[in-house]
Amino acid sequence: MRDIDPAPRSDPAESDESIHHRIGHLTRTLHNALRELGYDRELMDARDHLPDARDRLAYIARVTGEAAEKVLNAVDRARTVQQELTEQVDSLRSRWQAVAAYAAGGRSCTPAGKQLIDETCEFFACVGGQADRTNVILTDIMMAQDFHDLTGQVIHRVVALAQLLEEQLLKLVIETSPPEQRPRLDQFKFEGPVVAPEARDDVVADQKGVDDLLASLGF
């Protein structure tokens, strides 16, 4: 760093101007070096791939979000079933306890009948406990869906970073490479799930699109 002389501190405005001048000089040198070394093409490639990377991350966020919602819906339905089961068991249990009390006081029930009544009441009590345990498990399943919020926030940050990087790279590319010399983005032969179908006309958005296309071809 021999070229860089310590700037005089006496005049802040002059010092700022000197720093800006040097930064401009360094930037120009960097641009020239990138062009001479052929890195402008690589910068262009890197920049062109960033929107695709952002779309794929957004796709991950959307699909995992939908999965989390499905799980929460299933948990809600299971809770409703559990609640109904618990209420039915409580109702039957109290009625059978009344029968048990009646049977214990007289001869209206055989010993085998009494035993059956007692075991039924015990079973109903057991079902109540199992319903409680199932509810605890359902809560655990529900809480595990917080991954969507947590990973989603990370993805949003990475997407924002990629966007910033893309903008900076684009500026660099524009300054180092004439537009007519920009390389075209090589298309992937197999690109996996389509992450932004609405922006394209060479893909279908859903199964209906597949079926319609096949039907139009006579299949």
């Binding site: 979000g65 919602e69 929460l72 809560t139 529900m142 809480m143 917080d146 919020d149 926030q153």
Partner: protein, 127 residues
């Protein structure tokens, strides 16, 4: 605090809103509404009476800090308990929340027991 306090859950992720709402119901608070950011939340708070706010911090349009400041600077809202439930774990954020008047602060991921403990603690203070 009323017998059936009305909660406002503020989070930009619908998954988290549902989780908090279900947890509140499990711990005995089934009266809850949802808002997806601070702007919507503030509008709801001004439009009708709420007894408790559970809010995320990192949200678009108006974040949790801004919402909290708006709530605390509004004479009709300033006494509402305001619990932060957020992934922001930086000390400076926690300190800032306290300085802005947050009633409590929970870092995600959290458990049902944590939410219950914080809510009950705030409820007890309010009583």
């Amino acid at each position: 605090m009323t017998a059936d306090p009305r909660f406002l859950i503020v989070d930009d992720f619908s998954t988290m809103r549902r989780i908090v709402r279900n947890l509140l119901k499990e711990i005995g608070y089934g009266n809850a509404e949802e808002a997806e950011d601070g702007v919507v939340a503030l509008s709801m708070l001004k439009a009708s009476k709420f007894d408790f706010v559970v809010s995320d911090i990192n949200m678009p349009n108006m974040n949790g800090f801004e919402l909290l400041k708006n709530v605390r600077s509004d004479d009709s809202l300033k006494s509402i308990p305001f619990l932060m439930v957020t992934a922001e774990a930086k000390k400076e954020d926690i300190v800032q929340a306290a300085q802005c008047g947050a009633s409590g602060y929970i870092v995600k991921p959290f458990t049902k027991a944590t939410l219950e403990e914080k809510v009950q603690k705030i409820m007890t203070k309010q009583a």
